[in-house]
Amino acid sequence: MKKLVEIRDVCKIYNPGENEVRALDHVSLIIGEGEFVAIIGQSGSGKSTLMNMLGCLDTPTSGKYFLHGQDVSHMTDDEQSDVRNREIGFIFQGFNLIPSLTALENVELPLIYRGVAKKERSLLAMNALSKVGLGQRMTHKPNEMSGGQQQRVAIARAIAQAPPILLADEPTGNLDSGSSKEIIKIIKRLYSEGRTVIIITHDPGIAKQAKRIITISDGQIVSDIMNPDYKED
């Protein structure tokens, strides 16, 4: 298995000084291509910081982060934007769609920033929306859709440009159980199509769906196991 993500001895310290908070404390982690990983931890465990680090939304205080073998831990703002655009598809707890844009336009957005031409862009976006079962709702705005549908739009946006990593932060946190099941099903399907999926959650029920479960507490990885109960759908 090829290394996709490699974190080496990463620390993240907030408020350096007497009242410093060690959100990540010498964390090292390797995730290979095509893995399905859940990172589970209580709130305040440092899982969100880890997710920000993995998503190139934040830089470590010390240590290194290699993505595809490339050191991305100390890039400029614009270089990080580029890496996020190319390598990572985000799925957030709060969906994070832009309210003034339609579903299609939201999905097109990362493609615009990548510079994909109009025709190809709408084709890719429409494909992605069909994949999450929203082929009929492309012109709806976020406030005209249910939470589950909004999250599906967000997933379509994450996969539209086929990034190697899908990074999901509590993807079902704002959803009812029915929608949750559906979202998990879609994520699993994306995994089975060959994408690397990383889910960050506090919910053991969600974590149980993944193939590999990493538990984090107080900024440190306390366990890293292959899920014995993993079932392919």
Binding site: G55, L57, S81, R84, I98, S100, I112
Partner: protein, 402 residues
Amino acid sequence: MGKLGEYFKSAIKQIVGNGYRTLMTMLGIIVGIAAVIAVVALGNGMTQFVQSELNGIAGNYGEIYVDSSKTAEKITHDDIEYIESNVTDIYGVSPQMSAYGKVTGNRGTYEANVMGGSTAMEHMLSNGIIKGKYFNKQQVDSSQRVCVMLRDDAKKIFGTEEALGMEIELTIWGKTATYKVIGLRDSMNRLYSFIMEGQDYSAQIEVPYTALAADFDYYMEDFYSILLFADQGVLNTKVDEVKEILTNRHGLRGTKAITAYSMADFSGELDQILGYATTFLLLVSVISLVVGGIGVMNIMLVSVTERTREIGIRKSIGAKTGAIMVQFLSEAAILTLLGGIIGILVGIGMAYLICTAIGFKVIVTPTSVIGAALFSILIGLFFGLYPARKAAKMKPIDALRL
């Protein structure tokens, strides 16, 4: 630049989506640009109006005179003849005499401003002869008692415009003589009436200077000053030419005894004054534009704060600093351009209303319209810069955390 087009589109969407706020934000720009357009149009109209009316009153003439403190020489009939036959492109020169007196016709007696000149004096005023003829050289040479008056004066003095051939009595310095009306001038223009408003009215009577001199004991062997009549375009050069001729003929080189003043100088000065007035008003309206620009900046700052999350989302999915910058800048620029366009329309409307109410010609130049449009874009870019930078520099995690 397909990307740029996308940013524009999203900016327009944002502007349209926030209709009411957009309008309120644009208000400052609308008022500012409208004021600029209206002021420029008004300034142009005023300048044009004053110029044309001024030519109407003052006419196209220059005065050349002898400074009696510097020489005992005076301008002679020979000088006048020499000038008229040697200087090209002039209507002629004329001695000038004027006197205040009374004029009596069959409808009563009025104050009168009597002007004596030669046949070239016809060109002093731009309101031409509409009935009859001006007095000719023969009538001047033979001191005939003929006169030309304004149409309005004829109505007062005789009660009719059909005054040709009628007679008036001119009384000056206790002497009275009878003159026959041979020509009528069109009425004076509005600027003249405006200036003369509230003053005691006096009729304007033009007569041959020879007749005036003979009847009322004016000296006419030689003169301290003469008038030169020529078109505005050549007036200054012709006045200088005549000044040179007189200086040479009387051997007054280096004495500066012959001086001159032309109406072209006067209208030039007036132009300058009007120019200052317009510039001042323009400055005031530009200030209102700047105030409008600050309004745009404030709203953009509010918008950046409100849309922090959107900025975070955009950055997290790959928007670079430049992209966010362009998005907010184009939003500000489109906002002010839109305000500018509405302002131009409102301004033209205002210019029409005001100019027609006052009676000026409406002059809206393409330069002022294009200039105003460009300037409004510039305001957007300038005042949008700070909010756009603020948005672009946001860190995605900080923006998403909210």
